[in-house]
Symmetry: C2
């Protein structure tokens, strides 16, 4: 075992389904000696990535909550977008979820969510959830605004679409680009409808989308128009705000470098 995977292998054991592990269980699951695991786990406890709890068990530790905060405080999209989700969803008069999602490397991940009070429809859109790249309005609105070479690399990495499916997908994205929004019926959750518009800032390297998810049975033609209008105006607000953040940053003391090349996917 080498590099960071020595640690991520362990962290990845801690899923939603099993959030608590003993050293023995880890040893069996990973095929690594308990000596080594005791050593690695101790390092991770010391740095806050794991927490030691009762009955010789371990859980994910406080480091994640802390780093997550640092991210919220410094990510221009989250900074700009988070304050508009509540107003957006507040203006929708059926049960709805608003989400802000962003493309990171090869994954689309939801970075913030907001629900309008009372009856929650059960959607799997939620802060911290990685999204399928090609299914759902949320991802499609982002993919439609990604430049073609990058899109190709993303789909290659994803690898779920064959040549024919990819062609169809490209055509669909072309339509989305012309429309300026994406709608998807039950592509992620059965019975849910997603509406999404792109949000981006080239200068900050941010490709994102703003979505509203509602239950199909609640939806009328009127809501549809209203939701699309709300999305357009709120996406605009977020982009404006983000541009302000960008300008502030480049006026700041930490002057950015002057090149425009980057090779990391």
């Amino acid at each position: 075992m080498s590099g960071i995977t020595r640690y991520t292998r362990i962290l990845d054991l801690f899923t939603e389904d099993q959030g608590i592990w003993t050293i023995m269980q880890m040893s069996e699951a990973l095929g690594t000696s308990t000596s080594t695991l005791y050593r690695l786990v101790r390092e991770m406890v010391d740095t806050g990535f794991l927490e030691s709890t009762v009955d010789a068990q371990f859980r994910l530790g406080p480091a994640f909550v802390n780093y997550d905060r640092r991210m919220r405080m410094t990510d221009p999209l989250i900074q700009s977008g988070t304050k508009f989700l509540q107003p957006l969803v507040g203006h929708v008069d059926i049960p709805a979820t608003a989400i802000l999602a962003r493309l990171f490397g090869n994954t689309v991940m939801c970075v913030d969510d907001s629900r309008n009070a009372s009856p929650r429809i059960n959607t799997s859109f939620e802060r911290g959830k990685p999204m399928p790249l090609t299914r759902g309005a949320t991802s499609q609105a982002i993919m439609a605004s990604v430049e073609s070479r990058r899109l190709k690399r993303l789909l290659d990495a994803e690898g779920s679409l064959d040549a024919a499916a990819r062609k169809a997908f490209s055509k669909k994205l072309g339509q989305l680009r012309r429309d300026g929004y994406a709608i998807a019926f039950g592509e992620v959750d059965k019975g849910a409808v997603g509406f999404a518009v792109p949000v981006s800032n080239r200068g900050l390297g941010i490709e994102a989308s703003l979505s509203v998810i509602v239950a199909e049975r609640d939806l009328t033609e009127q809501h549809r128009g209203r939701i699309l209008a709300l999305l357009a105006t709120h996406a605009n607000l977020i982009e404006t705000f983000m541009e302000d953040v960008r300008v502030e940053m480049s006026n700041g003391l930490t002057a950015p470098q002057q090149s425009k090349t980057t090779k990391f996917s």
Copy 2:
């Protein structure tokens, strides 16, 4: 450099103040060669701990949002407490912040927060913020319910209190234990008053507290009583809920081990 610190040294550069770094800047800050940093950073980008962005710069990546979610979904305290913060703060009729904080190893960290709508008083209590161990009602309510040997170890690790100060602190904690709540005036933020009660579950190894923070100028004697009553009832609700979670877990298929020893701090 060895172990997990190879990576955490890098991650710890990404603070609230500077959330974006180039390889060169990291190299200068850490005194490590760019070869090595390119290699380490690539690993971290591949695993989502960092993100590559424009102008050859790097930011914290999506892994933290994702692990944070796993934690929220599996931590019994967060699961139980999060739904009561909004109602709690909703019942306070002056601008207030409710927070849920928990002792992890040697740190007290805020794991959830909620504000009652409109005018935000500026407090530094916020999800993801580590708290000083001995200052503020939030931490004191927790420290008061920690068993004495553990307390000693915590204060040793912290190391900010000399013998005399420690004695005074112990006396204070004794009083808190008798009162059942802690009140602190401006110990963390100037002009803020914190009220806190302990929340714990021995069987789950959880020592936490529930707090309400308000501005001193808004506070009357009436509010004081009301807030303490609200805290007591809501803390009770959270503890009851958490006990249900515990019982569910031990009835589940993943049977826990049978010992009661743990040596990790």
